[in-house]
């Protein structure tokens, strides 16, 4: 079958032009493909790196933390044109706590995307072993929710992840500093002056020094005694399926509970700035790849337009409209863009996959092939190619047929 009765004729002409000069078309498509490969690989690398960094920081901490509201003194508004300076002092005699945490628990249960919750009492204390005394953060958690936020059970290097009333889990670094091992007792004094001897039940190692060297997990009921909090909590931690929903969830929780809810990105400003900088650098690279596509496609199609001037003149001589000629060249740009970006997406995914894994299951580069923004690359590269074709296509459609035929 030689003819296709359903295909648009402008598309057929565009395809014929592309296939008649295979080397030029292959070079053009190759150019777009390389640019899209760079685009997608860059996206996979930058986003993969960001995920890696975020995972390192956020993976073992909460995504949203609910804390007692900080009371703010009521201040009458300043008269117009003046400013009012206010000095306030924190009420030291009263300890901040979340008393009605059971009602907060019910609100949290209705929230979508919450993958873990931990109801905690957190305070500071001193741990003593022989002549050694070191400051520690004590975190009282429900034994069943021990690994709801940080994967303590997975990071356990010695002992067991059990929290009886007289048990404590400490980081390996703290154990080394104290010269202590599993099964041995340590003496802890809370900042409320309560003293208790607890047995080291397990050692964990998260790889984060601030946790491994300072944080000790105790049973929530033990913490209630040590910090004189028979009812309330000092914080509630949430883990989310989508970490980027943290701000929305925090805002929602703050609005409905009246408590302070802080998203992880607002606690880690440096990380956020680093990620933003990284993202901006990536965007600059992406922008240059798009410019490369536009310049490459536009210059090649302009040459094609020039080479085909007499043919365009002939078409116009038998009454083919300017719109038809415009469409033929725009379609060439679109086809180059779509085919090139499909090839580029495939190559980008291939390179990312190849470089992400060393073959033995370990990671070679922090590249995440699933974060290559292939849809964005496809859309932008096709749009850039069409935009690049606009100028040559307009030039082609405006060719003077008499001048072109006599060429």
């Amino acid at each position: 079958m030689t003819f296709d009765y359903t295909m648009r004729f402008d598309l057929k002409v565009a395809l014929r032009y592309l296939t008649s000069n295979r080397l030029q078309s292959a070079l053009l498509i190759g150019g777009v493909a390389i640019a899209v490969t760079v685009f997608t690989f860059n996206a996979a690398l930058i986003n993969g790196l960001a995920e890696f960094q975020i995972d390192r920081v956020v993976g073992s901490s909460s995504h949203v933390t609910i804390e007692p509201a900080t009371p703010r003194p009521a201040v009458a508004p300043a008269p117009e044109g003046t400013e009012r300076l206010v000095v306030s002092q924190v009420a030291l005699e009263r300890r901040e706590q979340i008393k009605q945490w059971r009602s907060v628990e019910r609100i949290i249960e209705t929230l979508p995307g919450v993958t873990g919750v931990s109801y905690n009492i957190v305070g500071t204390g001193l741990v003593t072993r022989g002549e050694q005394t070191l400051p520690v953060s004590l975190k009282g958690v429900e034994p069943a929710r021990l690994s709801a936020i940080a994967p303590i059970d997975q990071t356990l290097v010695e002992g067991e992840a059990r929290l009886g009333l007289n048990d404590v889990l400490i980081g390996r670094k703290l154990a080394l500093d104290l010269g202590i091992g599993v099964g041995q007792p340590i003496f802890i004094t809370s900042n409320q002056g309560r003293e208790r001897t607890l047995t080291v039940r397990g050692l964990y190692s998260t790889g984060v020094d601030s946790l491994d060297g300072r944080l000790a997990y105790v049973n929530l009921d033990t913490a209630r005694v040590m910090f004189d909090l028979p009812e309330g909590l000092t914080e509630i931690e949430l883990k989310l399926a989508d970490i980027y929903a943290a701000r929305d969830i925090a805002r929602q929780l703050a609005d409905t509970t009246g408590l302070e809810a802080i998203a992880w990105m607002d606690r880690n400003q440096r990380l956020r700035e680093a990620l933003e900088g990284q993202g901006n650098s990536g965007n600059i690279i992406k922008m240059f790849t798009l410019i490369t596509i536009i310049v490459g496609v536009a210059s090649a199609l302009l040459l094609t337009t020039f080479r085909r001037r007499p043919e365009i003149g002939i078409m116009r001589s038998f009454g083919i409209s300017q719109r038809f000629v415009l469409s033929v060249f725009m379609l060439q740009g679109a086809l180059i863009g779509i085919i090139g970006s499909l090839v580029g997406c495939f190559l980008g995914w291939g390179f990312s996959t190849l470089l992400a894994s060393a073959g033995d299951g370990t990671r070679r580069l922090p590249v995440d092939p699933s974060l290559g923004q292939y849809d964005v690359a496809l859309l932008l590269a096709a749009a850039a190619s069409i935009a690049a074709a606009l100028w040559p296509a307009r030039a082609a459609s405006r060719i003077d047929p008499v001048e072109a035929i006599s060429q």
Binding site: T2, F3, D4, Y5, T6, M7, R8, F9, D10, K12, R16, Y17, S20, P310, E311, I314, M315, R316, S317, F318, G319, I320, S321, Q322, F324, P401, V402, I405
Partner: protein, 267 residues
């Protein structure tokens, strides 16, 4: 209906064309007047540079005249917008050039179909059948699916003739259609055009230097120095050329330099 059928196909009135290049003006056509009747085959003669190609471009609506007017099928064409002209050209005018000007990446059949498919933005069965019929008519049934580049010079010109007839135009303008062919192919191409003209009643206006072919046309128009210098009426037989102008081509050629169409003047 009868009166409109008797009306001339083309009426050309005082067409002038001046090419302007910076400070210089080159008048090429200096007031051309003539008419074409329906179904005529008319030869347009004149030396190189006399303005024949310019006149054909204007009549084919590819170029606008500097002044003057011309009506075809009762329609004034000098006032039409670009898109209307393009549509009119597609449906009422066919072109045959000295160099076949086929589209090299397309087959003979696709080249013939192009004016039809390009207008509709789609190939149709009817279009394909007409293109195939035309190619069969010009003796190229067995070359339909050959790329244009694989055809001989004579075959290419026959495809060009078929293409010019694709949309059943009222007028075919042929600019030196046999100028690039040897005697045998030239005779064949001209014979083909004559036969088609007789069969379909299509009007042909051919510019040519070939006296022999011109004599075989029903009428001749002579252009010299940008004007029609003599306009013999349709006369039976083939003797009018000698009676009216002796050997008009040789006379014109002797009096007119090769580029005489334009008297270059400073504006």
């Amino acid at each position: 209906m009868t009166s409109s059928m008797n009306a001339p196909l083309l009426e050309v009135h005082d067409i002038r064309k001046i090419f302007v290049d910076r400070d210089y003006q080159t008048p090429v056509l200096k007031g051309v007047n003539f008419t074409l009747q329906r179904g005529e085959m008319v030869a347009m003669l004149g030396p190189s540079g006399s303005g024949k190609s310019t006149l054909l471009s204007i009549l084919g609506t590819l170029m606008r005249p500097s002044s003057g007017s011309f009506r075809m099928l009762g329609r004034e064409l000098t006032t039409l917008a670009e898109k209307e002209l393009s549509d009119f050209r597609n449906q009422q005018i066919g072109f045959i050039f000295q160099y076949h000007h086929l589209l090299p990446d397309f087959t003979a059949l696709e080249n013939v179909m192009f004016p039809h498919a390009g207008r509709l933005w789609r190939e149709t069965r009817a279009g394909r059948e007409r293109a195939a019929m035309l190619l069969e008519r010009v003796g190229l049934k067995d070359r339909m699916n050959y790329r244009a580049t694989r055809l001989s010079g004579g075959q290419k010109q026959r495809v060009a003739i078929a293409r010019a007839l694709m949309n059943q135009p009222a007028l075919v303008l042929a600019d030196e259609p046999t100028g690039n062919l040897d005697r045998e192919n030239a005779d064949q191409a001209f014979g083909l055009m004559s036969e088609i003209q007789r069969e379909t009643g299509t009007t042909f206006l051919l510019s040519t230097h070939d006296r022999e072919l011109a004599e075989r046309c029903e009428r001749r128009i002579y252009i010299q120095g940008g004007v029609v210098v003599d306009q013999p009426q349709v006369v039976p037989g083939r003797s009018s050329l000698r009676v009216i102008a002796g050997d008009p081509l040789s006379v014109i050629d002797r009096t007119q330099p090769a580029n005489a169409g334009g008297d270059r003047q400073r504006a």
